[in-house]
Amino acid sequence: MDVVLKISRFDPGMDTAPRFQRFVVGVEPNQTVLDALLCAWRQDIGLSFRRSCRSAICGSCAVRINGRPALACQTLMEKAVAEGEPVTIEPLPHFKLLKDLVVDLEPFFESLKAVVPWLILREDYGGRMSPEVARSLEHPATCILCGVCEADSETSETLHPAGLVKALRLARDPRDALGAHRIRLLQVPVEVLRLFVRELPDKCPKGIEITDDILRRGVT
């Protein structure tokens, strides 16, 4: 099917503000927005957008599709088109725009450091862990650092959700010396964290779920 894409363009050397450019691309309904972007790129080789895995596991292709932050390689064209032609593709909001669909990721990756994003091994850790506990760590560990939650959050400048996900995942880890103390170290009010945890699965392309029992433990 032929689809009209409205892609946001911005060249820092020439433009003062982003503008839209229309592309007509031929794609199959079950192809993804990333496939459509690759078609557009073949028409204009100067178009810039990130991609890597094309299977929703690396986080490179996060953009705003029809107004909502999402992964281009995870969004099927039939779904994007159903929301009404043309399909608009813009850079993630809340990030500094560098070129076309490419935004500045430095502050995002930098923000991780604030939560001490590594395991601090408990001295008495004996090397075993129950399968249930291990499973509860798995899911939050699938965060791909795509930045969609950051782009989708009004308070992201202060909260940095991706860092929170890492901190909350480490807080549940029985191997970690800080463990539930990490919650207090975050210095984010527990009500805010609770709301964040509740809203995350709907925003996050990986549907990351963190049960909020850990929040209770962190406070007491």
Binding site: D11, L47, S48, S55, L98, L121, T142
Partner: protein
Amino acid sequence: MIMHEVLIVGGGLAGLMAAMNVSGKADAAVLSKVYPTRSHSGAAQGGFNAVMGEDDSIEAHVFDTVKGSDYLGDQEAIEVLCSDGPRVILDLERMGVPWTRAEDGRIAQRSLGGAGFPRACFAADFSGHVVLHTLYEQALKRGVKTYPEWHLLEILVDKGRVFGAVIYDLARARLEVIRAKRIVLATGGYGRAFLKTTNGHANTGDGMAIAYRAGAVLSDMEFVQFHPTTLYGTNILISEAARGEGGYLRNALGERFMAEYAPGKMELAPRDVVARAIFKEIKEGRGFEGHYVHLDLTHLGERLVAERLPQVRDLAIRYSGVDPARVPMPIEPAQHYSMGGVRTDVWGMTGLEGLMAAGEVANVSVHGANRLGGNSLLETVVFGARAGRKAAELAPGEPWPDVSSNTVKDALDRWNRLCLAPSAHSRSDDDQFAVRREMATIMTNQVGVFRTGVELEDAVARLEGLRKRYRDLPVPVGPQPFNYGLMDYIEVGHLLDLSEIIARGALARRESRGAHYRLDFPQRDDRNWLHHTFAHTTDRGPEFSAGPVSITRFQPQERGY
């Protein structure tokens, strides 16, 4: 000019593991064309082989690997891989990897193809992802300097010794020279040379092509792994774990056809065997719609699929529209892994002084003619760590290599003309996308699972034609930030170099071994071909020579499954 004692190129598992092992001992930096967490290692699902249980043994792991390699793997290196494995897995666990656990709380293990034992440690089917992120956390902890979205363009050599690299900084659209005492290449594979591949967009073989141009030796490039089970159409990987957990392969007649090809191992035979079986079924008219077969998980039950294979399920639902817990998945084989690469020893040392390599870019030859599932992730962490340790041991004591200022200037001038100046080439109607597509089509159709002399000869000739066309292409002009067109142009050049070497190597090897299957020479021929293929660059193009295989414990024998 930037200086680092050890420059690690690549932020995947091999690169980050190397960085961790250098950090604190020598000044190191990691350079990567994508942010490290976006490296292709993160897509790996199945797991890391390592002997953890009491009933398993290092010797058994070595034997399975040697046999899997069709006796072309270097047994000395395989011994190192298997012996270092358990330690590294435990190290990773203490860094925070959330391995899936068995009932008794130990690290759980699953069966992958070609193994005589459930030997793969895993975290559901996100194994590569969680280890990549854990290593990234460790890099943050150690304050490892990273240069994300910096592309290696050239390895600089003076008087036979590596002294640095030319880099293109994508965000700022400028060139940079980094001087280093040692460069560790960890740039991964070249899957994008093939039209049908499980590999992501970044896997364009840069490191192999750049090392080769700088004078390093590539070995065993004709051995290309095709994964049996990728989603029909997109070629997104369906991990071997799906068969490891008990999945069946069925043809259009509903038969579990592996009974014909590997009755002893069925679906868990090695990849080369299964890929050929699937192709044969399809070719002989027993595929669905003439194109694919089914991978059937429906008998495993919703719960097991959800717990052990959540990503497989997600991918199948999204990209094929089927829920594998209920409906069989349409699958076909596709390119997956490069057994060949930059020749190294067990410490990652290449023949080029100052250059080291580890991971998929390297050929330390633990996989020989065919890699077993789970051995590549293990290779990245084991040999990444060893290369890091060796570099850390050597670099501090080494003097900074001398360089004549002309060498740097010449290189910079050359790249400046290409990257930053308006295109000097004549405008043509041709474009790099067309050249890439033709190359990838030739590779998939003629240098694929089944090969013949006639088709390979034709492939070599056509690839040569493409190289000529490539030389006349207009270069996407800069300077502009995030000039992916320019990067793509350079990557196509790398892929063309490597494709030619793969095709020529395959044409020369007149036998069938592991993943290299010649319909016109269907037998393995140990008398004439039990040796590695080395490729060197010359003014006249690639030149090939033979190198010995290290055989210590296990003498070659027939490889039945």
